[in-house]
Subunit: 113 residues, 2 copies
DNA sequence: CAACATACCTTACACCACAAGGTAACGAAA
DNA sequence: TTTCGTTACCTTGTGGTGTAAGGTATGTTG
């Protein structure tokens, strides 16, 4: 039985995670799914039905740009690249995450701090 | 202009945050709102319209139990207390959060490491 | 031939925060 | 008295999001 991550947690982390992965260079949907699993040590697994809408929204909002590419084997892939706008969003998402993380740690650490 | 936390982040953190606050003893809605603000150093602020449904769901699911109390000033409060079931949920939520947090940190730290 | 992996996409459904509204009582100020 | 701010709870309509389940297509392996 694999570890389950609640959907609210997936929703909260999907955008910063995708944007962050793309800071390492171009990538595409299927590969991103594998990187998420890798980065989490196998603890976090995303469904593809959740990722593709995320990528479409990010592209629609100008956070990333995509281009279609055919591999030598004949498979089509859509490679995405981070935009400046996306970099700014990533920074804000990261701040928000850290703020909440800090609050959670305070509450975990001391009861009533 | 106050710092805004995205709603997905609120959704992901509300349950563990409430459960965690209640490990410090009984509390009630209005006080929990203030504690969240305090624990985050003022960076995280919840709306009451979001918190009360959270408390109702937690009570419905047996994570917390509530009791009505009248203060000396004549105000009614609903005090909530953590159940054993809620403690278990808190532990699981915490694990899930840390798994995602670890993945995010990995992606932030090294690009594609 | 079948099965699996790669690689993308979409729809119906349930869930959840947000905004906005409501109810009610207290205390202080006008 | 009236008004305002605070305390303290609750509900509804709306929009956004993951899940589950389905689809399309190609290459590789058994």
């Amino acid at each position: 039985m694999k570890k389950r991550v609640y959907k609210e947690l997936v929703a909260a982390s999907s955008r910063p995670m995708v944007l962050s992965i793309l800071t390492g260079g171009e990538s595409y949907g299927y590969e991103i799914l594998k990187q998420v699993k890798l980065l989490s040590g196998g603890e976090v697994e995303w469904s593809d039905g959740m990722l593709y809408p995320v990528l479409h929204r990010l592209e629609r909002d100008g956070m990333i740009t995509g281009r279609w590419q055919l591999t030598e084997e004949g498979r089509r892939r859509k490679y995405y690249r981070l935009t400046d706008r996306g970099k700014g969003q990533l920074a804000r998402d990261r701040e928000g995450w850290m703020a909440v993380h800090g609050a959670l740690q305070s509450s975990w650490g001391g009861g009533r701090a």
